[in-house]
Symmetry: C2
Subunit: 554 residues, 2 copies
């Protein structure tokens, strides 16, 4: 499967004959060469065996092709099936519960591993994690403190250190000193990207406002008073217009209004406009606004684009602002030697969010916030009498979450069982899929590719026959733009309801018309997805267009 | 086992001959009576079969008695075993990973299900949940939105409704109308009690400051400006001195300083002083402080005490303040007909936090925040373009967390497979254990019971021979109080390191001396714990005292 997309990529690029050879099993397995193993052949063989092994984890059973959910009921009608509010007095048996579950509930769940369910960031998982999830449940450790987790807490810190090193690549000595040091944290495990982002902003807020000497004193007062004592009028965060809405949540929780989030526009090449950014920073400083953080995005949720992190890092340094990179989606790109250059400058970030349940292929509920400075998190610590005590190994004083499972065992396990090379293969595979899909969309006249994919997210939309010419000539009327939005929304909704193939939808800003446009959004991260699957998604959409037109016609 | 503690309880109370009969299997199983089933006998039989079945879930394999962790290495030395920061380049096999895990890691984890590990709120789980955890991992649903979870999202809302009904007991019509209604939420599932508490405070903050008409307008500005526009000087929360530290975290995140948390003292009976509470509320209002919420605790983490919820509710109503009950530990007491009276008034709460991974016996990572008014959460909603869209079933706009697993399947499952009667049995069992343990401590001269347990948490401390008299006469010097703290801390630490039995420690305020005292804290929620286990915990502590004295002597 790797080779399918890779070969397509090569054919398209017409320029990678060496790599194609390296990827061909027949060559590496050539017995003559094997009898005289060279380092080069050894690496080839290792690469192939890595790929085969990793892909095997994603194919525990026969892959279901057909439907990703039982389609024979509308959402509203399905909702009506779940309206019992009375608790059963006497227990029912486990078997009876499962019988109900398998009959009434699970057919109407989503097969997120389906190769044609490519609309969201929730996809196939390697099967070894399921037994690990069971083990975690059995162990029932609580990572809030050492007395309820012990070795699993140290294991978690080891996994965090591996990710820290991947991003920041400090010296061996640095890691030896900090990895298990009390009151030092290379990062924390959170239950999701939103709490990771909140943790980062909390550190940024406290570190920016409190100096070490008077921090305890100032923490007695409410933030408003601290801000005013420091001579600030208000507090803002500043960053890319494509920031994830979790940053809106974070801002709201921290007491910022929507006007306190300052968005910087993209320039004509679709990259964050750094000149505008500097102007806005200067304006904030003139107006005595405390800039809590500058946010860069590494892999936006909607398009997969990456902000110019190096430049942002330089600007943050220049103005002494906390630089946070929300890399919930994109950080694992760093595993790929071919693509990691796209993240250049991430090592300048004071904090970085990574979601384990996204491109680390872990079960839901694990993200990581890394901190460049292992002492930064001390600004956001809370202690208690019976736990999270100072100068202990307890983690609860540093995390927003209190009780927390040992889900980091899955992270630690996957980092070893998939390894750098395994993740590299998965990441590159997704990007090849995206490149294939983009070319395919480009070729079909019925669709418009919205922008060239940076990573593995592809945005496009359906364009009816009669509007294609006008679109090309940039002569669409407002009513026609609206009509396009409407039909694309209808297609997406009908496609979800039919349950065969799936893309999501989002709203992007079209600078050509200064209008919001509704587009399809596909996330290509399932290694089981084939070119035929991708073709089928598009064919399915065209069938739906036909159906919609027939319905309207008749 | 039930009968062991229950019979002790009965013997101690000398007054429950009827219930003893109801609990005796021999009577209920009497064949003559069975041949003529009466409703009464049927209930008895159901109760016994419920107990037997539920206890079976907690005994999947032979219970390990001996050690709850491998003791042959100090924490600091163990930490040194986990210092690899370099990611493996090539993957290792699943078998190799498990081999390492079982050899090097798991022996040094905590057997939280051990019947003599009674120090924390993390205890034994029913075994049927482990397969469910595996299923959840396999399903890989994401509850952030309907397109990634579908039926599992409706199932979660059903489970929430069952808990809502248990606490608020509104009409069948109310539930039919609200249970699956878009933009209405009887509650939300969060990943823990802290985020549940933050969610509640966020709603309270927004609902208190924004009126429906101008909410959008005001949300544009930072909270400081809104407060000042509304004529407030500052913002506070007010509540019991025994509030969980997650409320400190919540306050800090929301921008409150430690001085903005107003603690109300307990009166001489150890109950929250309601007169003082009203005085403090009036003082806040005179000083134009916005009271974000009044917090009542149902089962404090340190002692299990319950605030006078009914009175707090009345006061909150009188002054029009959001009333939040942190019932992370104590809410499941409501399952017990015998003890639910202790929670009287909880139905007055505007929001209630319950931790599933505590007394609902679920795996780590699931709590619930209930809302009396199903529209309250709309004050804290965030929307996004590609998900969490308005007027959909999507939950991500209401929760602090974004991506979230279908762990609520365990909640739904357990509510059915354990049932009201099963939970009642588990709750009552823990309280009987606590009563037994308290009497046992009282009887042994070496220990002091700090206060009569309200629920299943018991606090006590060791008192050396030569101080017992002085303690009784309330004539301890400051140095002696300090000495007591020191020895109790040493015992607890040594006990953890030896790994045989475990209690935790906490710091309580001793009004007799106006001093902070270090005490043991036991949480009795493991149905496998026997009276002998509890006796062994105390014996183990006396052995440790001997050892400490010998070491010091020699």
């Amino acid at each position: 499967m790797i080779s399918e997309f890779y070969q397509f990529y090569l054919a398209a690029m017409n320029d990678f004959s060496e790599q194609i050879a390296a990827l061909s099993p027949s060559e590496a397995m050539n017995s003559e060469q094997r009898s005289q193993p060279t380092r080069e052949n050894q690496i080839k063989a290792e690469k192939i065996s890595t790929e085969q092994r990793i892909l095997q984890y994603f194919k525990p059973e026969e892959i279901q092709r057909g439907t990703f959910t039982q389609p024979d009921i509308s959402l509203d009608a399905l909702a009506q099936q779940f309206k019992r509010s009375e608790l059963p007095t006497y227990p029912i048996t486990v078997d009876d519960y499962y019988r109900q579950l398998f009959q009434e509930v699970l057919p109407y769940a989503i097969d997120t591993g389906s190769p044609t369910y490519i609309g969201h960031m929730t996809s196939a998982l390697p099967d070894f994690l399921h037994d690990m999830s069971k083990l975690i449940s059995k162990l029932n450790q609580n990572l809030v403190k050492i007395e309820t987790s012990k070795s699993l807490l140290f294991l978690e810190r080891e996994a965090i250190a591996m990710l820290h090193r991947l991003v920041y690549n400090f010296s061996e000595e640095f890691y030896t000193e900090n990895i298990q040091q009390k009151n030092r944290n290379l990062g924390i495990v959170t239950t999701g990207g939103t709490t990771a982002n909140i943790s980062a902003l909390l550190c940024a807020r406290n570190a920016g406002l409190l100096s070490k000497e008077n921090s305890t004193e100032l923490l007695k007062e409410s933030l408003y008073k601290v801000l005013s004592k420091k001579g600030y009028e208000d507090m803002v965060i500043i960053g890319s217009r494509l920031m994830h809405y979790s940053l809106n949540k974070a801002a709201s929780i921290l007491g910022l209004g929507t006007d306190n989030i300052i968005f910087v526009d993209n320039n004509s090449e679709g990259k964050l406009n750094c000149k505008q950014l500097e102007e806005k920073i200067q304006e904030c400083q003139e107006n005595r606004l405390f800039i809590l953080a500058l946010i860069g995005i590494a892999g936006t949720t909607e398009t997969g684009q990456i902000d110019p992190l190096w430049k942002l890092g330089e600007i943050a340094e220049k103005y002494n602002i906390h630089f946070h990179v929300d890399g919930s989606w994109g950080v694992p790109t760093i595993f790929s030697d071919k693509h990691k250059g796209k993240l250049k400058g991430i090592e300048k970030a004071d904090s970085v969010t990574i979601c384990g349940h996204k491109q680390l292929y872990l079960p839901q509920g694990i993200s990581i916030c890394l901190f460049k400075d292992p002492q930064l998190l001390n600004y956001a610590a809370t202690t208690a009498r019976y736990q999270a005590q100072q100068d202990t190994y307890d983690l609860g004083r540093f995390t927003i979450e209190g009780s927390r499972s040992a889900l980091s065992l899955c992270l630690h396990g996957a980092l070893h069982i998939i390894g750098k090379k395994g993740y590299e293969m998965l990441i590159e595979q997704g990007i090849y899929q995206a490149q294939y899909f983009a070319r395919k969309i480009d070729k079909l006249k019925s669709f418009e590719l919205i922008l060239e994919p940076t990573l593995n997210i592809v945005n496009y939309r359906y364009i009816p026959d009669y509007l294609r010419d006008k679109l090309r000539k940039k002569m669409l009327t407002n009513a026609e733009i609206e009509r396009l939005n409407q039909i694309n929304q209808e297609i997406q909704q009908e496609q979800f309801e039919q349950g065969k193939t799936f893309v999501s939808k989002t709203i992007l800003f079209d600078p050509k018309y200064s209008k919001k446009i509704i587009v399809f959004r596909t996330v290509l991260s399932n290694p089981n997805t084939t070119a035929t699957d991708l073709d089928n998604v598009l064919e399915d959409q065209l069938r739906i267009v036909d159906k919609i037109q027939r319905t309207k016609g008749g």
